[in-house]
């Protein structure tokens, strides 16, 4: 497989552990994404109803389908293989699942409307699960005994913790990450659009999707290890949204969706829509550890969700189809 050849950053820079040094970096590289696979049914329609999360392991790709309440499993080459789960409240069943992660041959599901976390193997066999006192929104499995669950704040009780660390049996170990709160519940929720992404060494990145340039790195106990700021050269997108009492508020959107791979962050840049809204985009900015843009990727179509592995981009398009792209230098 051809390597992406992402730029060598001639930098010591502000590292994740807080080291400071001299920074001299190569200019960002530009890539085009060449499509290698578009997965559709024989009748041309999509396999997926409402895909909301992508996860991958060494051999397979897993797509969480919120409307079908299941997980569609594909090969890395994009061939559909089988379905895991169905709608329900029993073991291995889901209701409005919204988050998915994979750790080896285990899938971790944020089973939102059932207010629980479920663990199944990659063949669909139920392994374990535990109830939690809120609707889980996103989930990261840093290890079998370290599961990070993100909640959506209610907006009713002031600042709330959004990150919750559990062990494998469902014991709460820690809570971190205060939500933004201004008494305007809708605006607050739009500002509390956070992403959690895996980093090396059992750590994870925390990014806020709007009004924040910081990329935070936390350890498995929710302790902040370091922080970098995405460069001002990043193509932030501003939009006015209706707020409480008829006021209009401005959001400065960072990313629509994002992925991590080999200590790089892949941010899907939001894009203006025909009706002057801000929606999924067709450009990805690759962010290095110091917040610098190390590469940019042009996609042939808008994607709503992405996962990255080396020079391969897995994405979901606006028609809910799985698309697979290879990166080629421009």
């Amino acid at each position: 497989m051809k390597k992406p050849g992402l730029p060598i950053v001639l930098a010591i820079g502000l590292g994740w552990q807080g080291q400071v040094g001299i920074c001299r970096q190569a200019p960002p590289l530009h890539y085009a994404a060449r499509e290698v696979k578009r997965e559709t049914h024989a009748d041309g329609g999509p396999f997926l109803s409402h895909p909301v999360a992508l996860a991958r392991n060494e051999s397979q790709l897993f797509i969480l389908d919120m409307d079908d309440d299941d997980i569609k499993v594909f090969s890395k080459s994009g061939a559909f293989e089988y379905v895991i789960g169905r709608k329900g409240q029993g073991p291995g069943e889901f209701h409005l699942p919204s988050g998915l992660d994979v750790l080896g041959d285990r899938l971790y599901v944020a089973d939102s409307a059932n207010r629980r976390v479920q663990v199944v193997d990659t063949k669909g066999k139920y392994l374990s699960g535990f109830r939690i006192p809120f609707s889980p929104h996103r989930i990261l499995a840093l290890g079998p005994e370290r599961i990070v669950v993100m909640s959506l704040p209610s907006g009713r009780d002031g600042r709330e913790k959004m990150l919750h660390g559990y062990d494998g049996s469902g014991q709460l170990l820690w809570e971190a990450g205060d939500s933004f709160y201004s008494r305007d519940s809708v605006y607050d929720l739009m500002r509390n659009r956070w992403f959690i992404l895996k980093a090396a060494g059992g750590e994870f990145f925390l990014m806020r999707g709007a009004d924040d340039r910081a990329v935070r790195r936390l350890d498995e106990d929710g302790v902040l290890l370091g922080e970098a700021e995405v460069t001002e050269k990043y193509p932030f997108q501003e939009i006015e949204i209706p707020g409480r009492d008829g006021q209009r508020r401005t959001l400065r959107a960072l990313c629509w969706n994002c992925a991590s791979d080999r200590e790089r962050l892949y941010l899907l840049v939001p894009e203006r829509t025909e009706d002057d809204d801000l929606g999924p985009g067709r450009a990805i900015a690759v962010i290095g550890p110091a917040g610098e843009i190390v590469a940019s990727i042009d996609l042939p179509e808008r994607l709503t969700r992405i996962a990255v592995e080396g020079n391969t981009i897995f994405g979901i398009d606006l028609e809910a189809r799985l698309r697979i792209f290879k990166l080629e230098p421009k």
Binding site: S112, L152, A253, L278
Partner: protein
């Protein structure tokens, strides 16, 4: 006289416990359903992939529907 007042109060307490508490728990159950539906509404809106403005409007509808549901005007 004192005995009659005490008896009346006891009966009133007994009746109110029977008449009010079931309504209270039923109202609480109804409110729980409202909040569950509200959370589901927000989750759907948040993951809708509609634009940011449309998502904002959708979330506003979720909040309005919650208010109406809790007040008993309608169910989400």
């Amino acid at each position: 006289m004192k005995r009659a007042i005490a008896m009346t109060l006891a009966v009133l307490c007994f009746l109110s416990a029977f008449l009010w508490l079931p309504q209270s728990s039923s109202a609480r159950a109804r409110a729980d359903i409202c909040y569950d539906d509200w959370e589901a509404c927000r989750t759907r809106a948040f993951e809708s992939d509609e634009g940011i403005v449309k998502t904002t409007l959708w979330l506003t509808v979720c909040d309005l529907a919650l208010g109406k549901c809790v007040l008993g005007f309608t169910k989400l």
